[in-house]
Amino acid sequence: MSERPDQRVLVVIPAWNEAGVIASTIAEIRAARPDVDILVVDDGSGDGTADAADAAGALVARLPYNLGVGGAMRTGYRYALREGYDVVVQIDADGQHDPLYLTELVTGLADADVVIGARFAGEGSYRASGPRRWAMWLLARVLSRLAGVRLTDVTSGFRAANRRAVTVFADHYPAEYLGDTVESLVIALRTGCSVQQLPVEMRPRTIGQASQSPLRATVYLARAVIALGLALVRRWPAATETLGQEKA
């Protein structure tokens, strides 16, 4: 199936102190897909990220203080729902996600409600090792089971969601650690959305590197286990107070 020509696509970029790269990321997305709208959610940056994104021609939502990726993304999903977008694609601000895969992800929504751009699925050269690798293996294993399809990179921040998933995420997108990646997938699956992945090649980050020290990786493993365990047993939805605020 191909992408429906009439659907409106919103690219949401959660950005925290990414003034150095945000403009080139936006320009790249524009070059790859001139027809999509781009919303940068500035997560309380102190380095003028919002102004840089504004100058680059993107829509900019400025959070008054740092909420984390989960808060930034829920802002994006709420905006998309209110403005009537059909598809939301999340792309990292740091340029590690190649916008050339954007169309593929959106097309993939014909078969699923959420499509993840996965690093380990054949393409690319991203490699993790040690406890971090075990954590990723465990997360992938459990979520694959839940989803009923093979998922290899559930912590990827490169993903597309259709209207059905956007409606869920506009109300329930956890701000806690790993909530924006792992728990959000669990929420999607538990509300009956289907999840699939497509292989993408990730580029090395333009600025900054993921922490790879053994201690940090071990802490990551522990937190991943806790976050996943909680997500699985949590009486959904976790945030009952904000339930049902968003109506499509």
Partner: protein
């Protein structure tokens, strides 16, 4: 008059005065003051009637009555701490929702200004939200609606 009695009385009195003063200055809400008033009342009761504690300790098989008191006090503080953690979590969730809402409203306001350049000059530059209070919504942009 033993020292336990005096200490309990003084501690209870000071706590009561502080609570009253905080309530009077509206620094403390009644719903949080209630629990502390109950704690003070219990402290004073035990200070005035130490026999109650000994009898409770005997009934529960605790050899040193003070240990029962410490256990009770620690459990109470633990429960109150958990209750406060819960309240903080709720507040964080609310402020998060508000922060997201603020960001979206600002974006909406800016896009309206951009759509209607004629309105821009008389709109005061008030990023803190004290802009013109419009009763009627400006016409929506002619974008496709789904």
């Amino acid at each position: 008059m033993n020292s336990t009695f005096t200490l309990g009385l003084i501690g209870g009195a000071i706590t009561l005065v502080v609570l009253f003063e905080m309530l009077r200055r509206q620094r403390l809400r009644e719903k949080y003051a209630v629990i502390w008033v109950v704690v003070v009342a219990a402290t004073l009761t035990l200070a005035i009637f130490p026999g109650l504690l000994s009898r409770a300790a005997t009934a529960l098989g605790v050899q040193v009555p003070a240990n029962l008191l410490f256990f009770g006090a620690i459990m109470l503080l633990l429960v109150i701490s958990i209750q406060l953690s819960y309240e903080i979590g709720r507040l964080e969730e609310r402020t998060r929702t508000l922060a997201e809402e603020v960001a979206l409203l600002r974006l909406q306001q800016e896009s309206h200004r951009g759509d209607h350049p004629s309105h821009a000059p008389d709109a005061p530059d008030a990023p803190d939200g004290r802009g013109p209070h419009e009763v009627t919504e400006p016409p929506e942009e002619p974008g496709p609606t789904a």
